[in-house]
Structure formats: C-alpha cells, structure tokens
C-alpha cells in the first residue's frame, strides 16, 4: 500500500496532539519542552508532506529546515531559562513557579 498525503497528515496530527498533550500535562519543564519539539516536528512533517504532494517545489522543505534551526535556537534559550529557573527556585516544576501570581 502506498503511503499517501493522508497518512503523513495523520501522523503529523497525532504528533501534534501528543505534543499538545505533553505541553498541557507535563509538570516538568523539560518534558514541556519536549512537547514543544513534538509540535514543531509535527509542523515540519506537514511542511515536508505538503511540499511532496501538493506543490512539487522545495519551499516546504526550506521552511522545514528553518523550523529545525529555529527549534534548536529555541531549545537552547528555553533550556537556559530552565537552568536559571532551577537555580532560582530549586525546582523545574512549572506549577511551582508562580511568584508573580502572589
């Protein structure tokens, strides 16, 4: 059976859903970041799939490559924030860090 666009989109949707779920439910900031990576990669998958099946160009793939770079930068910044957070609060649980609320 040939893999069609629907399959890629389905996998992408599944990945996105899993990513959102991780972001919403994870208390650990690192887990949360991993969820974000899942969402980004779901988007990348969709870009690549659309580039292959709909447009017949490399625009989608270029965009995907940009997103990967951006994701790396984001991960670097976000992990720095997590480190700083751990240093300041002694925890990486996002629900424990709510000083501004109080």
């Amino acid at each position: 059976m040939n893999a069609g666009l629907e399959h890629f989109l389905t996998v992408g949707a599944l990945l996105f859903g899993l990513g959102v779920f991780a972001v919403l439910t994870r208390r650990n900031a690192v887990g949360l970041l991993m969820g974000v990576e899942l969402i980004l990669n779901a988007a990348n998958l969709n870009f690549a799939a659309f580039a292959r099946y709909v447009e017949h160009g490399i625009d989608g793939q270029v965009l995907a490559a940009f997103v990967i770079v951006l994701a790396a930068a984001e991960a670097a910044v976000a992990l720095a924030i997590v480190l700083a957070m751990f240093r300041n609060f002694g925890t990486v649980h996002v629900d424990a860090v709510d000083r501004l609320r109080r």
């Binding site: 959102v20 919403l24 996002v94 629900d95 709510d98 501004l100 609320r101």
Partner: protein, 714 residues
C-alpha cells in the same frame, strides 16, 4: 503780666504734671531714684508758677479780671468746639490750692511710698491726677470740663486701686468709678441740655444766653440739677457718697490728694464756677443735699474706729458744707472753705498717714499715747483738728462760720431753716469726733504696747509737708470771709452785664446801655457794697434794670446778713466748744463712758455703725435691680436671641444634612460604584491569571477550538 503771659503760664502749669506723667510712665524705671525727684520737681515748678499767677491777681485786685483764651479745636462749619483757658481769681486760688497740696503730697510720698514695687508708676499717676484736676480748673468750656472730669475719674480709679493685689482695693476703685459714672450720667445730660438749647459750650457764652433767657423754667431747673448730679458723684454727696470711704484703700497720700485738692473739690468748684446756670430751684436742691450730707456724714464719723474712715466721713461732711454754702448763696464762702479745708484736711490725712506709717495700723483702739513718740505729727494734727473743729483764730473757724451765717440768712430770707440747723448740728459733731480722734490716737495710755514701742517720728521728707500745711492752716485764716477780706477779690460773682456785653448776642444799643449800668455797678461795688451778697437771693440775678428797688432790697439783705453772721458766730463757737468739751470728758477724762452711751442706744449705734445702711440699701435696690435686669436680659438672650441663632443653626444643619446625603449617596455612590465595579471585575479576572503556563495553554486550546466552531458557523 500781660494777658498772654498769664495764659502761657497757666498752660505751663497745666502741662508740667502731664510731662512728669509721660516721662515717669515710660522712663521712670531707668531714672535715678526711679524719678521721684522729677515728679516732685516739676510739681514744684508748677507750684511756683501758680503762685506767680496768684500774685498777679492779688496785685491787680480787680475781681472782674478774667483772662480768657480760646483756640478752635474742632470746627465743622456750624458746629464748633473751642479749647479754652479761663484764668480769673477763682482759678488762681484753685491753682494754688491744687499745686500746693499736690506738691506736698508728692514730697510726703517720697517717704511714705519708699520701697514700693511700683514706686515710679505711683508718681506718674500722681502727675496724671494733678494734670486732670488742673484741666478742670483751667477749662473755659463745658466740653473740656467734662473731658478733664472723666480723666480725674480715671486717675482716681488708678490710684485708689494702686494696691490692686488687695481684693478690697480692687473692689473700691471699681465702686468709685461706677458710682461716679452715675453722677456723670446726670452731668452729661445737663451739659447736653444746655448745648442743645443754647448751642454753645463756652462758659461765658452760656452765661450770657441764660442771662438773656434763652433757657428758663423747669428745663433750666432740671438742667441745673443734672449738672449738680455730677457734683454729687464727684464730691461724694448723699446719696452717691458711698465710694469715698472705700477709696481709703488707696495709699494714704493719695487719700490726702483726693480729699483735699483734687477730685472731691472738683464738684464744688464746678458748681461755683457755673453758678449762673443754676436757678433758685436747682440751688435749693443743692442746699438741702449739702446740708443733709454734712449732717449724716458727721454722725457716722463719730462711731468709726478706723482713723482713715473717720477722716473720710469728715471730708464728706465738710464737702456737704461747701455744697450747702453754694446752695444758700454763699459760693464765695464755699470756695473759701474749700481752700482752708484743702490745707487742714490734707494735713490731717498726711498726719494720719504718718501715724499709720509709724504703727502699721489704722485702728484707733490700737493706738494711744503717741504724743511723745511723734511730737511733730501730734502738734500739726492738733492744729488741723482745731481748724476743722472751728476753734477761733484758725482758718476753719472763719470759713465754717461764714457758711453757717450764709445758711442762717438764707433761712431768714427764704424760710428754709433746715440747712442751717443740720449744718449747726454737724459742726458740733465735727468738733466731737475730731477731738475724739486726737485723744484716741495721741493722748492717754498706749493701748497696744508692742505697736507703741515701735512707733517713731516720720522722716523730714514726711514731717516737712506737715509743718508747711499746719502753717497754711493757720495763715489762711487771715484770708477771712469774702465780704470783709481780700478773698472777695478772688472769688467774686460774675458781673453779668459785662459778660452779656462781651459774649451775648444783644443788639448794639442795648450793649451800650449795659455798659453804663455796668459802670454804675462798679461804682456801687467800690463803695463797699457787698458784691457776693447778690447771690444770697438768687432772684436778684434776673433784675438788672430795676436798680432802685434792688438797692432797697440789698440794704435789707445786708442787714439780715450782718445779723445772721453775728448769731451764727456765737452759735458755732458754742456748739464747737460743747463738742470739744464732751469729747474731752469722754475720751480724756473718762467721765462719760462711750461704751455705756452706745449700749444705751444700741439701735442708733447700729444705724451709725452701718452708715445708715446706704450700702445695704443699694444692695437691696440697685444691685438687686441690676441683677434682676441682667437675669431678664440673660433669659431673653438665652431664649430669644439664642433661639434665633440656634434656629438658624438647625436650618443650616438640616440643609447640610440633605446635601450631605445627596453627596454621600449620589455623588460618592457613583464614584464608589465605579470603583466597586472595577474592583469586582478585577477580582473576577484575577482568578484567570493562575500564573501557570499550562492553564494558559488550556485556554488557548479551548479558544482555538471555539474559534473553529465560530468560523464554521459563519
């Protein structure tokens, strides 16, 4: 001395004491010896100037010489008040009396007030007092007379209350001030009446107007009584005499000044000066008031044990004599008595002051036997006592005898014998209580040995004035009665024709005629025609044209006078002798027991000891009336005035309440409502901000799903 020189000298006499007052008041503390020499010295200069004026008038010898200077003081077109100075014989005598007594009082005070905390203030007040009195003496219009009159009241207030830390002194000066205010009220009404009717306040213009009949009938009588009320207050006549005994709270030299030369003499002088303004009706009131005062006060003086109080009543009694003398037509005798009385009463008070200074007590029962301790005080006091009691050859005898004679002739001519009888009895009492004072104080055995042993003669600065005044008390006897002595040259009645000719508003022809009669009158006067006697029958004032009948009438009057004076002289010697004898028997020999006599008539004693219940009477009527009136006013104030005020308050409060409610509920409600709304909304939305990223993400997800549905629906 030219007229100008006389005026300038008089002005200098008037101003010297006020200069002393101003300097001492402001710089007294910084001057060496606190400035006592300055006040005394300036008064001494004033005294010398007064003597100069006196000598001038003596050497001129014209009883009608009157120097009158007036300067416009207030000029408002139709309304004009002049500041004027009038110097004539009466003024000259008064100037000498006032400055002499004041000078000696100043000198005496140097010793008496030595070491007082407000020493310089005391001398300043003395100067002010003298200035005010000189103002009364020198004024030539009712306006400045009244101003000085009130200044004297103020000065007496300050001096009577000089020891104001004593409650009794503070009460006494208030009493003096308020009592005088009652008299001054009448005085002011009298002045206003004359001013309204005659349109002038100048003495001579008024005399001319009254003489020409510008005012008459009952109005003139009542206006005169109004003026006399001022005298009743100032000269302490019954019924306004109550302030004077209390005025003893002042320093004793001040008592001497008040009683001899200033203040109380002012009333007598005023009536004598304004004699043409009094009609026979008013003069009758004057005569009776004086006689009753003389008698009542003399009887009270008999029972008083405080030496100063006794002297105070003696003064009231003698003032009664003077006032009565004016009332019965012997104004010159009244002035003569004022002069002699000034000397011996000042002497008595200064002598009493010397005694008080020495034994530190005013109660005669605590004295006695001081004669050898204080020989100068004793002898001078004795001279003054003999003078006031009416012992022949001393001044008081002549003046009192002249008054009694005038009163008797008044009775013989007018049928009013009561003044004479009252005055005669008062003369007896006077002799009695004065010698009682001498015996109790100076002779016999000392009753309080402790005080007696500490007694000492006063220093020369105090004893000197005593000797000088004793000398004057004897010498002034030589001045004699006005009819036969040279006192007539000083205190002569006004020559109304001349006054009218100069100040009246008669047509020219009439003035010429008046000049002739005036000349004729002068000739008559020069031929030994008793000038002052024209006063005896006041109705002779009015008859200026009927000279023929007047001459016959005058001859009759002259005869009566001669007779009356002879009778009065013997009677007064007899009754004075009787008084002295009784006093001697009672207090020196002890033949008559004073205590037994008093026990025999307890009711009389009570009445006298309580001073005829005058104070109680005022307490029951005037004070209570005033209090009731105050209460009524208070009630009116509380209920009506306060009601209106409070009503306004309630109204304002109610309006404010309404506005307040609107403000609170309406305006503030809107403001608070907005705030409350904002706060509620904030509270509500605050809950959304959990601070947890995941919550926000959940919202985002739901929102996206919602948006999807929304856009699909579109």
């Amino acid at each position: 001395m030219s007229e100008n020189a006389v005026l300038q000298t008089a002005l200098a006499i008037l101003l010297l004491p006020i200069v002393s007052y101003v300097i001492l008041f402001f710089f007294g503390k910084k001057l060496p010896r606190r400035g006592d020499w300055l006040g005394t010295g300036l008064l001494g200069v004033a005294w010398l100037l007064a003597l100069r004026i006196f000598c001038h008038f003596w050497s001129v010898g014209d009883p009608q010489l009157r120097v009158h200077g007036a300067w416009p003081w207030l000029d408002l077109g139709g309304f004009r008040i002049d500041a004027g100075i009038l110097v004539d014989g009466m003024t000259a005598v008064m100037l000498v009396v006032v400055t002499t007594i004041s000078f000696f009082v100043h000198m005496f005070s140097i010793g008496y007030m030595h070491g007082d905390r407000r020493y310089e203030r005391y001398f300043a007040f003395l100067g002010f007092f003298t200035f005010s009195m000189l103002g009364i003496v020198l004024s030539s219009s009712l306006f400045f007379l009244y101003v000085s009159w009130e200044l004297v009241g103020l000065a007496s207030y300050l001096l009577i209350g000089f020891f104001f830390h004593k409650p009794s002194a503070a009460a006494a000066n208030k009493k003096a001030f308020l009592t005088n205010r009652v008299g001054d009220f009448g005085f002011f009404l009298g002045i206003l009446t004359f001013f309204t009717v005659c349109g002038t306040l100048d003495y001579f213009e008024l005399f001319a107007k009254v003489h020409q009949g510008a005012i008459g009938g009952a109005l003139l009588t009542w206006a005169g009584i109004g003026l006399f009320m001022g005298c009743v207050g100032k000269s302490a006549q019954v019924p306004l005499h109550i302030w004077l005994p209390d005025a003893m709270e002042g320093p004793t030299p001040v008592s001497a000044l008040i009683h001899a030369a200033t203040m109380v003499a002012a009333g007598v002088y005023m009536v004598a000066r304004l004699l043409p303004l009094f009609d026979p009706g008013a003069l009758l009131v004057v005569a009776y008031t004086g006689a009753i005062t003389a008698f009542l006060a003399a009887t009270i003086a008999v029972v008083k044990t405080d030496i100063k109080k006794s002297l105070a009543y003696s003064t009231i009694s003698q003032l009664g004599y003077m006032v009565m003398a004016i009332g019965v037509g012997g104004a010159a005798y009244g002035m003569f008595h004022l002069t002699t009385h000034a000397f011996f009463k000042a002497l008595l008070f200064l002598g009493a002051g010397s005694v008080i200074h020495s034994v530190h007590s005013q109660e005669m029962p605590e004295m006695g036997g001081l004669r050898h301790k204080m020989p100068i005080t004793f002898w001078t006091f004795l001279i003054a006592t003999m003078a006031i009691a009416g012992v022949p050859l001393l001044s008081g005898f002549y003046s009192k005898d002249a008054i009694l004679g005038a009163a008797l002739s008044f009775g013989m001519l007018e049928g009013h014998f009561a003044p004479f009888l009252l005055a005669l009895l008062a003369a007896g009492f006077t002799a009695f209580y004065m010698f009682r004072m001498v015996f109790l104080t100076f002779t016999g055995k000392p009753r309080d040995h402790h005080k007696w042993e500490h007694a000492h003669e006063s220093p020369w600065v105090m004893a000197g004035p005593l000797v000088a005044l004793a000398f004057l008390s004897i010498v002034s006897a030589g001045w004699r009665g006005p009819a036969d002595g040279w006192f007539a040259r000083f205190v002569a009645p006004y020559d109304m024709e001349r006054v009218v000719a100069r100040y009246g508003d008669a047509p020219a022809a009439q003035v010429a005629a008046v000049h002739e009669t005036a000349a004729a009158h002068d000739v008559a006067e020069a031929s030994g025609h008793g000038a002052p006697e024209t006063h005896a029958a006041p109705e002779t004032h009015a008859t200026t044209d009927a000279h023929a009948t007047t001459d016959a009438h005058d001859a009759h009057v002259e005869h009566v006078h001669h007779q009356a004076h002879l009778i009065a002289m013997f009677l007064s010697i007899a009754i004075a002798g009787l008084g002295i004898l009784l006093s001697w028997l009672t207090y020196q020999k002890g033949r008559i027991s004073a205590a037994a006599a008093l026990a025999r008539f307890p009711r009389v004693h009570n009445v006298l000891q309580n001073m005829y219940y005058f104070d109680e009477f005022y307490a029951a009527t005037v004070y209570r009336g005033v209090l009731a009136w105050s209460r009524a006013s208070g009630w009116f104030d509380r209920v009506v005035i306060d009601g209106i005020v409070n009503g306004c308050g309630y109204l304002t409060r109610f309006t404010s309440w309404v506005i307040g409610v609107f403000d609170l509920r309406g305006v503030d409600g809107a403001v608070n409502g907005v705030a409350w709304l904002m706060q509620g909304a904030g509270e509500g939305f605050r809950r959304v901000q959990t601070g947890r990223v995941q919550t926000y993400l959940v919202f985002v997800c739901f929102s996206v799903v919602l948006l999807i549905f929304v856009f699909r629906a579109l």
